[in-house]
């Protein structure tokens, strides 16, 4: 049985359609990329799964229907979230940002959890007392991922983690993501415009266009597909 299952998802904003007829599954420990250009419906899909927007269709996690739960309840089922644009709490310190991420866990667990995240991202440890708003874009992204990991999720959803970052930083974040996924046994849903990078990190991918699914399949095969290469990889 898949860990996450999305069926016939439809998100609307008044007359505007965010996504329609979107469906896919993610298995335990698997990375799935959700690829599409600006406005394709990636964020709408992630927000629906998390309960940030209302939707038609069905989302189940570990067999449990998530409809009607608010985000603070959905995340307690084991779904971590790093939002588009990072959205760190700018005036809180790096450490306090991580603590907020761990707010759903027993207090006693936090120090060990924080040390673990500092292990993945040593830069965060160096800057632990600094206001998150004063970090560089790459550091803020690391913090957003670290914050999402604080709740010990079994699935982590990342909304455009590469957005606006220099290629070296993007590469570095990709390496750490792979490491984290191995050690934590995580499932990952990676929403990205940077298709080459996302496909290189995932096993399977869903390609969205104008709110609908354009293609799905193995990441490797999609990387070789002439149409995908032309439309999304700029090759």
């Amino acid at each position: 049985m898949p860990k996450l299952s999305v069926e016939g998802l439809k998100v609307t904003y008044g007359p505007i359609v965010g996504t329609e007829g979107v469906g896919f599954t993610i298995d335990e420990g698997e990375t799935v990329a959700l690829i599409g250009s600006n406005g394709a419906g990636k964020s709408s899909t992630l927000k629906a799964i998390l309960g940030m927007v209302t939707y038609e269709g069905r989302v189940t996690y570990g067999g449990e229907d998530l409809k009607g739960l608010k985000p603070s309840k959905v995340m307690r089922k084991g779904i971590g979230f790093s939002p588009e644009g990072r959205r760190v709490f700018p005036q809180l310190s790096v450490l306090d940002n991580l603590r907020v991420g761990g707010i759903s866990r027993p207090q006693a667990e936090l120090p060990e959890r924080i040390e673990r995240i500092y292990g993945y991202f040593p830069r965060l440890k160096e800057r632990h007392s600094q206001a998150a708003g004063s970090l560089s874009g790459g550091e803020q992204q690391m913090l957003a991922i670290g914050r999402a990991l604080m709740s010990k999720p079994s699935l982590i959803m990342l909304d455009e983690p590469s957005l606006g970052l220099a290629p070296v930083i993007v590469e570095r974040i990709g390496e750490v993501l792979t490491e984290i996924q191995k050690t934590e046994g995580l499932s990952v849903l990676l929403a990205e415009q940077n298709a080459t990078w996302a496909l290189s990190l995932s096993k399977r991918a869903v390609i969205l266009d104008l709110g609908r699914i354009r293609m799905t399949g193995d990441a490797e095969k999609l990387l070789d597909d002439p149409e995908v290469r032309r439309a999304y990889l700029g090759i």
């Binding site: 940030m52 707010i103 207090q107 999402a148």
Partner: protein, 299 residues
Amino acid sequence: MLDFLSRLEILLNPTVLGQVIVNGISLSAIYILVALGFTLLFGIMRVVNFAHGEFAMLGAFAFYHLTKDLNWPWMIALPAGVIGVAAASLVLEWLVFRWFYQRMFESMIGLLGLNMMLIYGGVLLWDTHERNIPAASQEVLMLGDIIIPIDRLIVVVIALAALTAFYLFIRHTRAGLAMRAAAQDVETAETQGVDTRHIYKVAFFVAILLAALAGSLWGQIYAVSPHLGERPLMMAFIVVILGGMGSIPGAALGGALLGFTESIVGTAFGAAASAFLSFGVVIVLLVFRPWGILGTPEN
């Protein structure tokens, strides 16, 4: 000019100076208590609580009735009244406030209406005559030439203790952390596990608790009437504009500035001069630095 200087000279008299300092501290502490709750409600729920002063009024009446009618000692009546008012106010949170969360403009109008309802509800219940809460102590403390009434000292100590408790709560508890996160970005806080509906209730309770306490202390110094809330609200408003809407250190700084200005200018030149100056500063600040001394500009 000579008159101006001679009025300032009054302040050098040790007895007057002692009073100015004690007044300054107690006024500052009370203004900060009211302003902290006001700024907390704005910072987290984006409501401008024009009814905030009325919770101070309710706190003062609770304290009055518990001490005067039930003869409870003040040490019990004060916390009981304050907690009782805050708990009872949760009904208003459910009936009125929650509909205005994250709706700043509607909240101003709606809560101005609630303000009026509470004032005139108070007039119906208690009419408009002023009542006095018995002083906690009749004794005075002599420090050289400086005379300090003990009941004023009690007010100062309680207010400072409450401010310290609030600071520790915000800095060192989970609920405090959740509030600080929600004040910055409610939507993201919810996705990271903060139950924002619950945190709104906790923030509301704390804000009303502080206002009711400020009102009780205010009633102990001055007098209790249904109009008691107007001045603390006005002062909280100035404090929050001075310090920056939603800024907790700003509320502390603004309250201290206002309390001491009122005490010093009021003693030398009268209450009218101090009010004139305070509101003048607010207007100048709103023109040149609308986000306050310690606030941050909204984008």
